[in-house]
């Protein structure tokens, strides 16, 4: 008798789970959304998601569950996304240039760039070249002249990751200025910063957020955006100084390929409202993020444009895996 009772309870429990797992057809969204973060907690992607979280709940009308799937520089998470159900209830934060460069350089990264259907691009952090406040380099010109006078590779520039925006930014500077800087990759911005603070590298090619956070300790020589950022008013752009470098990391959200277009449009609308929310904007500015407002079409256009650009650079460097 006891066994039958236990069996019934288990059966009912299983049914209940199966039933709630089914998404009802009535109106998207009708249940909570899963928002996957591909990098360590407390990184830029995580902080942005936390800033967005309460506004997201408000404008979406449903709870948002933030989960982490860390590894492979984000590739584990993105490959998981491409295998998730394309019903709009699973989205993931995605990053340029990572999603373009990883498949290009690794051959099989577990996903293809265009398998990630862009929903929205909500921020960018332009590359920022910084040195310590007590460094002898007061302007970009000083820095480049020193690099030219010394043997190639003497000047070391730290940054976050390989095949990242920091890596690319350094490569682009090398090309544009005709110098050879040695790029030293660190696990993340969090480990690159102490390297500069301790004097182990000459400079950092990092993100605008660090220029804001370490204002008192770092001197920013140039920023790789098309216009000066309001939080970093005194920092000239590379363009102003004669080097056409506009590069940084773009962050947004994506869904698996095959997600219906109207669901994508709805989510894009929600994120648009979120990014225009005054609370969110205030926090983003404070941290040094540059807010972007790119919907699905604009994001896709950006991805395609950057793919062409990166392909050219990577081919030159011989870094594309066939």
């Amino acid at each position: 008798m006891k066994k039958i009772a236990v069996g019934c309870v288990v059966l009912v429990a299983l049914l209940a789970v199966a039933w709630t797992g089914e998404s009802s057809a009535a109106g998207f969204p009708s249940k909570p959304l899963t928002y996957m973060i591909c990098f360590d907690p407390a990184g830029e992607s995580d902080i942005t998601a936390r800033i967005q979280e309460s506004a997201l709940k408000k404008y979406l009308g449903q709870n948002v569950v933030i989960t982490y799937k860390i590894g492979g520089g984000g590739s584990i998470c993105w490959s998981e996304l491409t295998q998730s159900k394309p019903d709009g209830y699973t989205i993931a934060g995605h990053n340029l240039p990572h999603i373009i460069l990883q498949p290009m350089e690794r051959g099989n990264a577990g996903y293809k760039t265009l398998d990630l259907k862009n929903i929205y691009m909500f921020e960018s952090t332009p590359n920022l070249l910084v040195v310590r406040n007590d460094s002898p380099f007061k302007t970009l010109k000083d820095f480049i002249e020193y690099a030219k006078k010394n043997p190639p590779g003497v000047v070391t520039v730290g940054g976050s990751g390989t095949s990242s925006a920091n890596d690319l930014g350094t490569t682009m500077l090398n090309k544009a200025a005709g110098i050879k800087l040695t790029y030293i990759p660190f696990g993340g911005t969090g480990s690159a910063v102490p390297a500069l603070l301790g004097g182990h590298v000459t400079a950092l090619m990092t993100y605008s957020t660090m220029g804001v956070q370490y204002r008192g300790k770092f001197r920013a020589l140039a920023i790789a955006s098309d216009k000066r950022m309001s939080v970093l008013k005194d920092v000239p752009t590379f363009r102003e100084l004669g080097y056409d470098i506009v590069e940084g990391a773009y962050r947004g959200v994506a869904a698996p390929a095959g997600t219906p277009d109207d669901v994508i449009k709805h989510l894009a609308g929600v994120f648009d409202k979120v990014m225009r929310d005054p609370e969110v904007q205030k926090k983003m500015d404070q941290q040094g993020f540059k807010t972007e407002y790119m919907g699905p079409e604009a994001s896709l256009a950006l991805v395609k444009k950057k793919t062409v650009e990166y392909e050219a650079i990577m081919k030159e460097l011989g870094r594309i895996k066939k």
Binding site: A42, S54, T162, S163, T182, G198
Partner: protein, 527 residues
């Protein structure tokens, strides 16, 4: 490097540096001793302990999971809770290390070496008391350093560059000889195996894809905790099932309620093991200060040093309480130590500090002088809260530990083995929400079982896994930085700090030979 008078800059109003700090301490204490904050410290510590005791849930995960809950709280309340969870989790790891030979967190790997044999001899309570006393005192030491010594210690952290991290890794390798109960050669082979496993995935520098055998899911590499559970826990379970060997069949295993164990053990530790306590606390604090090195390294280094300094090193590994004290004291000292670079420079000293850094950002709290002056009330309350949780751990741990030990001892194998098996699977899945990890854990479990038969111990393998990336990134970065020198390898030998570390490595490596040389000298003198 950070300029003279960093201390003066961090305490801007201070002429002699003393007074404002005392004011802030008093203020912090007043804020802490409110009903709400005390409750949060208590609740946080307990939750942390439970999370830490579960193999597969690390301190970092425990803290990260609670972050969303802190959004509804004030900054002080949120930070105090997270700090308590962190401290509690590091302590909680000792329970499963002692009772089922599986470190609850990577910071308790070393506690298995003596804690588990103690449990098998019926001295589980003694081991738990030792872990509690050590954790409390180590935790307090770390917090005291945090409060009073932050600025100069943070300076030291910055001086460690890639070359120095490489030598720290090499120093870690020299520990293998003391960790391998038995042949040192087998230990080194194990260490190399572990380091080889650590190369699976994406290379930290250069981004090469290594050893994924065509599976993109392997790009994430092998998680430490997965290997820990596999190598420590599964072989134990398999031995139980296959041959009926192991903890339960030893009739002494278990919790025998002997009166006075608590006071006897505490008195012994406090009176006789002072050297161990001080040394392990200092080791833990220093390793905590180094960004990127955390409790997982600290507990093993402290164990090694305790063994070297001991008059009876052969007792380590047989159920010697000194071993448990060394590991648990150092890993809790890491908690306070890791917050030093976090609060002064915004550089996390250990992985959970990275999560706390994110929370600081969200609350708009900028690490640096501001935290110690205009926002001092929040900061000092937070630091004192972490210290308080080290004290709260004691009654909760002793009482809860007794219950847990009795429970595990009384539970029949028929429930214990499947129960632990389920825990291990859930735990290894929980780390990255990746089913592959569960499979890897089982694979390592079988490998570990086989290795045990061949007399390889698991600890050197795990150490290789931890130190592999540390050494690789240090070495490659140092090489890249060395382009200016005649040979790029010069960077490894240029910094005076490197020389100190190299000397430490040499001493640590040659120590066993000093011992036998001494014996021979004494022997020849006698003749």
């Amino acid at each position: 490097m950070a300029g003279p008078g960093l201390r003066a800059r961090l305490l801007p109003d201070a002429e002699d540096g003393g007074f404002p700090m005392l004011d802030y301490l008093w203020l912090g204490l007043q804020h802490l001793l409110t009903f709400q904050n005390l409750l949060l410290v208590f609740a946080g510590t307990v939750m942390g302990m439970i999370a830490g005791a579960l193999p597969g849930i690390t301190a970092t995960m425990a803290v990260a999971v609670l972050v969303p809950f802190t959004f509804t709280m004030s900054p002080v309340a949120g930070l105090v809770t997270l700090g308590a969870v962190y401290m509690g989790a590091i302590y909680g790891g000792s329970f499963s290390a002692i009772l089922i030979n599986t470190p609850g967190t990577p910071s308790s790997i070393g506690t298995c070496f003596d804690g588990y044999p103690m449990a098998c001899q019926g001295r589980a309570e003694e081991a738990i008391v030792a872990a509690t006393v050590g954790s409390c005192l180590g935790g307090l030491f770390g917090v005291v350093c945090l409060i009073f010594l932050s600025p100069p210690l943070a300076d030291i952290a910055l001086k460690f560059g890639p070359a120095e991290y490489f030598w720290v890794g090499v120093f870690g390798i020299t520990i293998i000889s003391s960790l391998s109960s038995g042949s040192v050669l087998k230990g080194l082979v194990g260490g190399c195996f572990g380091a080889l496993i650590s190369t699976i995935g994406i290379a930290p520098i250069g981004g090469d894809v290594r050893f994924t055998f065509g599976f993109p899911a392997m790009q994430g590499g092998v998680e430490l905790v997965v290997m820990l559970i596999g190598l420590f826990c599964i072989p134990e379970l398999l031995s139980l099932v296959v041959k009926g060997e192991g903890m339960k069949t030893r009739s002494e295993y278990g919790y025998t309620r002997t009166k006075g164990v608590l006071w006897k053990t505490t008195r012994h530790i406090v009176l006789h093991l002072q050297g161990n306590l001080w040394r392990s606390s200092i080791i833990g604090t220093i390793i905590g200060i180094l960004p990127g090195a955390g409790g997982n390294i600290a507990n093993l280094v402290a164990y090694n040093e305790a063994k070297r300094a001991s008059k009876t090193p052969e007792k380590f590994g047989t159920g010697f309480v000194d071993g448990v004290v060394a590991t648990e004291t150092s890993n809790n000292a890491v908690v306070g130590g890791g917050m030093i670079p976090l609060l002064t420079l915004g550089v996390p000293g250990a992985p959970p500090d990275a999560v706390i850094y994110g929370v600081l950002m969200l609350f708009g709290l900028q690490p640096g002088p501001e935290l110690f002056s205009t926002k001092a009330d929040i900061t000092y309350t937070f630091m004192l809260g972490v210290g308080l949780s080290a004290i709260v751990m004691v009654p909760v741990g002793i009482y809860g530990g007794r219950l847990l030990a009795r429970f595990v001892a009384k539970l029949s194998t028929a429930y214990l083995v499947p129960g632990i098996a389920i825990l291990t699977m859930v735990g290894s899945y929980a780390i990255r929400n990746n089913f592959l990890d569960v499979i890897l854990m089982l694979v390592f479990g079988f490998i570990g079982f086989g290795l045990r038969r061949l007399n390889f111990s698991a600890a050197p393998i795990v150490l290789g896994l931890i130190l592999g990336p540390l050494m690789e990134t240090g070495l490659v970065r140092a090489y890249l930085m060395g382009m200016a020198y005649p040979s790029p390898w010069f960077t490894l030998f240029v910094n005076p700090l490197s020389w100190i570390l190299i000397a430490l490595c040499a001493i640590s490596f040659l120590w066993p030979y000093f011992g036998s040389m001494k014996e021979r000298l004494q022997g020849s003198l006698k003749e």
